[in-house]
């Protein structure tokens, strides 16, 4: 085996430059793979209809009425969660904070859902 030396000899000075520059550019863009954008709005639905669309920039709390009672939703800068819900199993409450676009907490018994949206939608539709 002759090793890599004969192959490296084929690279000219500018080739190294291009190689390093493009590698750096690609490496810098790789973190984009892990972040599907930034959540910008919290969309609260009741009975499938949009009840409120809240800006994730401003902290506030909102109560949504459903067949079982009121679901309390809290918004903080960059994230939102269901604080309390009258449903029996509390799945949507236990999901905790949602911050990335596409994340959704569904309080099915009370027919309330909380979804984070970004500038672009990740999914065309979701079905459960």
């Amino acid at each position: 085996m002759r090793g890599f030396a004969p192959w490296l000899a084929l690279l000219r000075p500018g080739d190294w430059l291009i190689l390093f520059a493009t590698t750096a550019a690609v490496a810098a863009s790789l973190p984009r793979l892990w972040q599907a954008g930034i959540g910008e709005h919290a969309v609260i639905r009741q009975e499938g209809r949009i009840f409120a669309t809240l800006d994730l920039g401003q902290p506030r709390q909102i109560e949504v009425g459903g067949p079982l009672g009121n679901t309390l939703i809290a918004v903080e800068p960059g994230r939102a969660r269901v604080v309390s819900d009258p449903g029996p199993r509390q799945y949507c409450v236990r999901q905790g904070w949602l911050s990335r676009p596409g994340e959704i907490a569904i309080c099915a018994p009370n027919r309330v859902s909380l979804q984070i949206t970004g500038r672009t939608r990740i999914y065309d539709s979701l079905s459960y």
Binding site: L11, R12, G14, T120, R121
Partner: protein
């Protein structure tokens, strides 16, 4: 009924293009046989031929060889005029245009590896743009762009090295014997 014979004059240039294009088609078939972790990530071995042709016979011959390769490979693999064909065509067109510009770089400093990296990145860029405009009209297409770019960089470098290695050999005086 009179027999008419249509004779098409075949030049040495035509024979050379045909021979080189068939080599490129063969490499496209090898490419298609290589398992890929993600649709769209391929070694692009046929680009080795494009690079060698570009640097040895010029841009015009490279265009002929590339377009014939896209056409013949799509017929052999059964995706002629399917979406994959137009992706292949747009990627090849973009990389040919890029090569047309990049070949004017001073060759003392920039060799086949630079050209290959440019061509590979242009190829994936052209494909993504067509995919965004036509096939998947959604910005989500670009989410995987860093992955495609990384693959293009990796395979572009390898193909460029192989092309440089081939170009270091003396040119065959007549590539096609008949």
């Amino acid at each position: 009924m009179t027999r008419s014979v249509i004779e098409l004059p075949v030049s040495d240039e035509d024979r050379r293009i045909a021979g080189l294009a068939s080599a490129a088609v063969l490499l496209s078939l090898v490419d298609a046989a290589v398992p890929s972790p993600l649709p769209g990530i391929k070694p692009g071995l046929a680009n080795i031929v494009t690079l060698v042709v570009l640097l040895r016979y010029g841009w015009g011959t490279a265009i002929w060889v590339s377009l014939l390769r896209v056409l013949a490979a799509s017929l052999l693999l059964g995706y002629f005029l399917a979406p994959g064909f137009f992706l292949s065509l747009s990627g090849t067109a973009c990389s040919l245009l890029t090569l047309g510009l990049a070949r004017h770089l001073p060759s003392r400093w920039f060799g086949p590896v630079s050209l290959s990296i440019f061509a590979a990145l242009a190829h994936i860029g052209g494909q993504l743009v067509v995919a965004r405009l036509w096939l998947i009209p959604h910005d989500g297409v670009f989410l995987l762009a860093p992955l495609f770019a990384a693959a293009a960089l990796f395979f572009g470098t390898l193909n460029g090295l192989v092309a440089a290695r081939l170009l270091a050999e003396p040119a065959p005086t007549s590539p096609v014997h008949d």
